[in-house]
Amino acid sequence: MSDTVSISCSVNGEPVAAEVPTSTTLADFIREACGLTGTKIACGHAVCGACTVHLDGVPVASCSAYAFEADGSEIRTVEGLEDADGELDPVQAAFADLSAFQCGYCTSGMIMLTRALLDRDPNPSGETIRKWLNSNICRCTGYELIVEAVARAAEAANAGPMR
């Protein structure tokens, strides 16, 4: 039995095929095989969420998922959020407008988690936002600006009044 595995998947809408060691994590596959370094690795065991990407629409900690799981799947990273014209996703724009970061290391994971939330619930309550953000860790900001950015992103996406 081989120590490598073939992976064919879609990364941000682009087809990718690679042969990697079986133990390659999804984070390393994205960063090294795909060259997409917006996905950050911090804790290395699924606690902090800095490495969050979408695997078939589900937010996952890519540091502790294996690349072989992506075979036949769609991966979406922070690089895949902006549209073809380079316009930022409302979540990215809200984080940038509010400077909802300090060191920025957790930001791509926060943005991907938020995108997954808004994909499921375009009008999340404050409580829902806080419950979701409980998944990821930021050691700089104290979360207030991040919570505000998520609410603003939802508002921008819906073009509704500020709640």
């Binding site: 039995m1 120590d3 490598t4 595995v5 060691p21 079986t22 133990s23 994590t25 984070a27 390393d28 690795i41 290395g44 065991h45 699924a46 969420g49 969050t52 589900v58 937010p59 996952v60 900690a61 540091c63 502790s64 998922a65 294996y66 072989f68 799981e69 988690l113 939330l117 419950k131 979701w132 409980n134 998944s135 990821n136």
Partner: protein
């Protein structure tokens, strides 16, 4: 190499594992066959949320059996007086599942474990088979008098969820299903306000079952007449349910106090 790299106390994270043999069966029967035939049974891998932790703790991985390609073992359905839950159902899926919400308190309890991101990946079967005292699903299932259904190359085996701690090596068995008897008036209350030190699940429906979980002790199951006092229920706590962080006396007093609150919530509905 940095001094940290050389420290025997620094175990490699999951992303530094050497390549392993990878099995990706497509049917439960194929998975059971692999578990039964390999000299060393491969580690079962579903959501992966526990494996990375155990690798940090020093577990070596020479072969892995990915269960994510299996057909079935997901979802939940009422069948023959039980709620049958597929072992690969995720905690997130179950926390909103129609059949699960039919047991008052169960979906809420499952939806409170860990966080959203983890619940999307973590499976109910993985939470049980990790056999970690700090994990919460075995506590809920013990209170609900659930049965664990295993398949192996020697056939089907059922185990009470409360007995998972004393069941010996299950490395050649595949947990396929969890069955919760749907007794009349079945309802669950799960109190995790004292987590991580202590959590407590209380279930009604015929007799009352109270499962007490702690960080390091194997969960205790106390059951009896619902009319019995809370203090009396906890007088049955085994003598060995005691450690330096959580004494038996503390659990007895605190557990009884929690149970009174739980009974009040269950009565309120």
């Amino acid at each position: 190499m940095s001094p940290l790299d050389q420290s025997p106390n620094m175990l490699p994270p999951v992303r530094q594992l050497p390549p392993f043999r990878l099995f990706r069966p497509t049917t439960p029967a194929e998975a059971v066959g692999i578990l039964g035939s390999e000299e060393t049974p491969p580690i079962c891998y579903a959501g992966g949320t526990d494996l990375c932790l155990s690798v940090h703790e020093g577990r070596s991985v020479s072969s892995l059996l990915s269960l994510n390609t299996l057909d079935g073992l997901r979802g939940a359905e009422a069948r023959n007086g039980t709620l049958a839950i597929g072992a690969l159902a995720t905690l997130d899926e179950l926390s909103t599942h129609d059949q699960v919400t039919a047991i008052p308190g169960l979906a809420e309890a499952l939806g409170a474990i860990a966080n959203v991101r983890i619940r999307f990946r973590a499976t109910i079967g993985g939470n049980v088979m990790a056999r970690r005292t700090a994990y919460e699903v075995p506590i809920l299932l013990a209170a609900l008098d659930a049965r664990l259904v295993f398949e192996s190359s020697v056939g089907r085996r059922e185990l009470r969820a409360a007995d998972i701690w004393t069941a010996g090596d299950l490395g050649r068995s595949l947990l396929t299903e969890i069955e919760i008897p749907l007794t009349e008036g079945l309802a669950l209350d799960y109190d995790r306000t004292l987590r991580p030190w202590m959590t407590q699940a209380a279930a009604t429906g015929g007799i009352e079952r109270v499962a007490v979980g702690t960080r390091f002790l194997r969960p205790a199951l106390l059951s009896g007449d619902p009319g019995e006092s809370a203090e009396s229920r906890f007088s049955g706590l085994p003598g060995e349910f005691n450690d330096v962080l959580l004494t038996r006396g503390y659990v007895t007093g605190t557990g009884a106090a929690l149970l009174k609150r739980q009974r009040a919530r269950l009565a309120k509905g």
